[in-house]
Symmetry: C2
Subunit: 235 residues, 2 copies
Amino acid sequence: MGEEKKISMAVIKRLPRYFRYLGELLENDVTRISSRELSERMGVTASQIRQDLNNFGGFGQQGYGYNVEYLYNEIGKILGLENTYKVIIVGVGNLGQALANYTNFEKRGFVIKGLFDINPRLIGMSIRGIEIQDIDELEDFVKEHEIDIAILTLPKTKASKIGQDLARWGIKGLWNFSPIDLKVPKHVIVENVHLSDSLMTLSYKLNEQKMQQKQEKQKRETLGLKISNHNTRKS
Amino acid sequence: MGEEKKISMAVIKRLPRYFRYLGELLENDVTRISSRELSERMGVTASQIRQDLNNFGGFGQQGYGYNVEYLYNEIGKILGLENTYKVIIVGVGNLGQALANYTNFEKRGFVIKGLFDINPRLIGMSIRGIEIQDIDELEDFVKEHEIDIAILTLPKTKASKIGQDLARWGIKGLWNFSPIDLKVPKHVIVENVHLSDSLMTLSYKLNEQKMQQKQEKQKRETLGLKISNHNTRKS
DNA sequence: TAGATTGTTAATCGATTAACAATC
DNA sequence: TAGATTGTTAATCGATTAACAATC
């Protein structure tokens, strides 16, 4: 009783991908799918799919598989997509503007209520009908409108302090695009998008690939040399 | 000999974070650091740091710790940051524009050589001196300039085909921002940035937090009820 | 030298995969 | 009913943590 087995982050991080694949199946009017078939499409094991889903309950039926629409909706619920959140964007540079213009987030219940920047040239401008305000207004706005989430798209030098301020002012979640680790109380949820980390991972993988190819080439050449030596000796 | 123990993705994904922390230490003129102290700053175990680093060699010294600058440079090498790559951006919408304007990538050796879009209103415009070209020019450009990496910031309906085209035209890596899993030959490296997945993870965590708080509140209320009952009986 | 801290082996923990009884 | 496929337990695998001898 009350013994919620803590669900691992590995599982949680896979849920959006399941959701994505089920959404596609739904679009293609597929009504049912087995763990085996889904596993083949997704390139994972059927066992993992069944294990992952059974963390949250039994959504399938023996001998039948899973009803696509039902499972899609259930995963949506698990992800909390039926909630709506009041969102602000702090830092309306290139990336902030891009996110402000991105209407898809609202479909997931993330409604942008305010935009904030320090740059006087931006303040007063509007994006999708929302005026960019001076960051001095941030505290009052967050408290008055009971903002849930702040998207942090500002220079790392400022992100840390603003993140802590927002935590104090009652923000529930931070979607952080700055290449730093925010230090906030643990009741404030932080989800990071570290683009530079992602780029470095890409760099690593490209470099690894390059080295492997070089190695293989060398191996081929050594082999070629041996063969030609062999031939020389023979002839 | 030639028995490279394959390094796990978990380790690789942690390298950029080490690199980040070491960079900060370097900026603060810290010359040496022990695994223990770094572990405290980063919120990981010292054991993990030593294990991770020893996948690539012994960079420290017993009784001393690690030289910050040396370790920073070595991790930079491991990440392949001394390489330079020719990059194009395919899809110059809000996000593509933001990335095109982001100069930090060039510091990591990712040099943007071309921008491509299908939208006639964008074609001919320039960002940081680079003209946006019609996507029809893509094949010739990639082949002629031997482009290494394509950043895919286009609608998911188009990303899949373009990704496959680019693979055929000799691209080495794809930095994919579309919410799909690209199907390309395995010699083409794909690094995904799934913003919508990240947002759904945030949504999950917020929802979980909300439920936990609700549960705790209920528990407190039940407890309060019991106490008041108890008091009632007593008085 | 004595103290500190690495590199590395061994122990533990957790996550993934395999197997199969339950059941639709 | 027979076949299919889940839900779940057990086995395996891999990753993390602990421990400590080596050594600066």
